[in-house]
Symmetry: C2
């Protein structure tokens, strides 16, 4: 890991770093409290987002200030600083096309897009595992919704160092996910939006049902995919704090 | 209201009182903080329970100590101190018979029992309204699951003095409930147990969906009707505190 910048604001130290994994340079942000962090939460951003997505930086600030934890985010493959101008143009075209389909009668994520996320998940999980190797021993949690849940499930299903996870905005579309979900037995908080235009309600309920965890809770709110209410951030912080101490 | 006993423990004053409503004597408990309460939460117990049910007294203590609120519980019709020896024997027989039916293949509340709760709901709601009249102006919330939700919905659908409600363990079985739910537009937290043997999942989801509230959240946990995890008490306190201030 190479630290490329560092700043301090409101008691939170923010380090910009480059992680080298399997020939890739993965840009990340590491947020740290003043003392030794009591735990570290990995923050996986959603599709089209980045390590600086508003929900990521807001949650990071709260975890550091309110819990004394560290938080860390990586740019996912082909996202953030890893996105070329061509990739950004293609992404913006995809988002615009998708928004046109987001009518009450036009639900559902394109299967080809979902499959491409599943195909990239092993790489994304390997990058998180490379980061865990660099961070060394400690208590770890994971937060990620939407694409952050697709990648997070692949990571959590094979990663014993992470002991708690807040996930959401996902649904059970493929048999591979059922195997991953069954292998996830740590406490899980799962957030779902009742009027999500990308995931069917039944798919989301089935995914939550499939987690192997004895301690799992699903929070459902009205509104679209991107509309998780702010009070759920309180719930995520309380949930992680309850399990990471 | 006649106060029949008063005690103080851990900074919480507990008053036992008798409320007279429509010829009935309704026994209740009023828990108060040391100073002026900032709000009052009405606590509706479940079927076979009473104003001293463990979930009621535990929540009352937390609301008083952590939020500076008052809390108040009434014995519902034919419950607690309002239950004759014959009624208690009949209730215990009903519970025993129901537990025999509670197999994975034997879901569902007996329609006749549910109808009897709906028939008693107007009386239960009138008793709460009599109590609100006695308490005078103030900020009010409501908490009640299972029978406490059947009675609470009847109350909330026609009672503008209550501005927030935590409900749960209920389902949409009758058209009358759909009208009540649509008339409830205050913030609602709804708790549901995924393996409830009395309410079907689809009925619970339909009830949550039917609430007229823009701000509503459903928390789903694994486990049976009586098995709401302790951490949901944290969520109820946080939810009431967020709305009552």
């Amino acid at each position: 890991v190479e630290i490329t910048a560092e700043s301090v604001a409101d008691g939170v130290t923010e380090r910009r770093f480059d992680l080298k994994v399997a020939g890739e340079t993965v840009p990340g942000l590491h947020w740290l409290p003043e003392g030794e962090p009591r735990a570290t939460v990995l923050l996986g951003h959603g599709g089209t987002g980045s390590k600086r997505a508003p929900n990521i930086t807001a949650l990071a600030g709260r975890l550091v200030r309110e819990c004394g934890y560290a938080a860390v985010a990586l740019d996912a493959p082909a996202h953030g600083d890893r996105m070329s101008a061509e990739q950004r143009a293609a992404m913006e075209a995809r988002v615009a096309a998708r928004q046109q389909r987001e009518t009450p009668g036009g639900r559902g994520l394109a299967p080809s897009l979902f499959r491409s996320l599943m195909d990239t998940a092993p790489q994304a999980a390997a990058e998180w595992q490379g980061l865990l190797d660099e961070l060394g021993p400690g208590a770890f949690g994971y937060y990620g919704v939407s694409m952050g849940t697709v990648y997070g499930m692949r990571l959590l299903a094979g990663e014993p160092r992470i002991s708690v996870a807040a996930l959401g905005l996902g649904g059970l579309l493929e048999e591979e996910q059922r195997r991953q979900a069954a292998a996830i037995t740590i406490p899980v908080l799962f957030l779902f939006q009742w009027d999500d235009t990308l995931m069917e309600r039944e798919q989301a309920l089935a995914l939550w049902d499939a987690f192997g965890s004895a301690d799992k809770t699903m929070h459902v709110n009205p509104g679209p995919h991107g509309g998780i209410p702010d009070h759920e951030r309180d719930a995520v912080v309380a949930f992680l704090h309850r399990h990471l101490g």
